[in-house]
Amino acid sequence: MGEGTALGRVRGLGSAHHGSHHWLLQRFTAAGNLLTVGYLAFSLLLLGDFSYDSVRVWLAQPLPTLAIALLVVSVFWHAKLGMQVLFEDYLHGAVRFAAILLVNLAAFAGTAAGLLFLAQIMMTSVGERTATQAAQNAFAGMTGGAGQ
């Protein structure tokens, strides 16, 4: 098997010799999903209470925030690779190209949105802690006590 003709390569016909890259990344992100989604599933089971305060206080901690940030990156990347294979199998020509373009944009947009939501959840929590601390200090100042 040769490399195909020069014209064929330019047109994207035949192997571009990058197939293993997609294949490997699908596996690497699968391993990432295994760890991070497994962490989320066990965390939710242990949490039990799914009220707003309970979930947000849990998620705003450093380790859950990091784990879910990694989850967002890993699952969107993995989903992008998987959707691409679906499109390559069932769509053809311009529609296929448009669909792959769209799924790439959607994966980046989804990743960015997920990370921004996590940042916002974390910052809300930090803001509340600062406010609580300030209130405690003010109360301590009023009563002349140590504030603990």
Binding site: A30, A41, L45, Y52, V72, A79, G82, F117, L118
Partner: protein, 126 residues
């Protein structure tokens, strides 16, 4: 003309467990991508948005259609997880003889259902 077997074709095939696990892997994976990821972002966005946004999310999630979607997504997740682990095993070159392949295809598919039941049982009963 001699009677010869026809080439394999879309309508000429014999059903096997490996086919089931293959198409379920694709369906559950793409289902997770198309439905699961928007729900994930909705959940995170609701948590970021505040109590009212979160109440709205929970309100939709606890309706009958919402529960059906969540249970369906959890099945898709656990199914995709089991058949994904099967892919890792196949990637190292193991499990290709017909008997083992059929057996693990069945175990994989049933495993996804069992994990779904176990997850919801642990969530609701423990």
């Amino acid at each position: 003309m001699a009677e010869r077997p026809l080439s394999p074709h879309l309508s000429i095939w014999k059903w096997g467990p490996a086919m089931l696990v293959s198409i379920l892997h694709r369906a559950s994976g793409d289902g997770l991508a198309l439905v699961g990821l928007p729900v994930l972002l909705w959940w995170l966005g609701a948590l970021a948005g505040g109590p009212a946004a979160y109440e709205s999310f929970v309100g939709y999630a606890t309706t009958i259609p919402g529960i059906v979607v969540l249970v369906g997504l959890s099945w898709a997740l656990f199914n995709h997880f089991c058949s994904g682990v099967r892919h890792f095993v196949l990637d190292i070159g193991a499990g290709y003889d017909v008997e083992a392949n059929n057996r693990w295809s069945v175990v994989t598919t049933l495993g996804g259902v069992a994990l779904t039941v176990a997850f919801w049982a642990a969530l609701l009963l423990v």
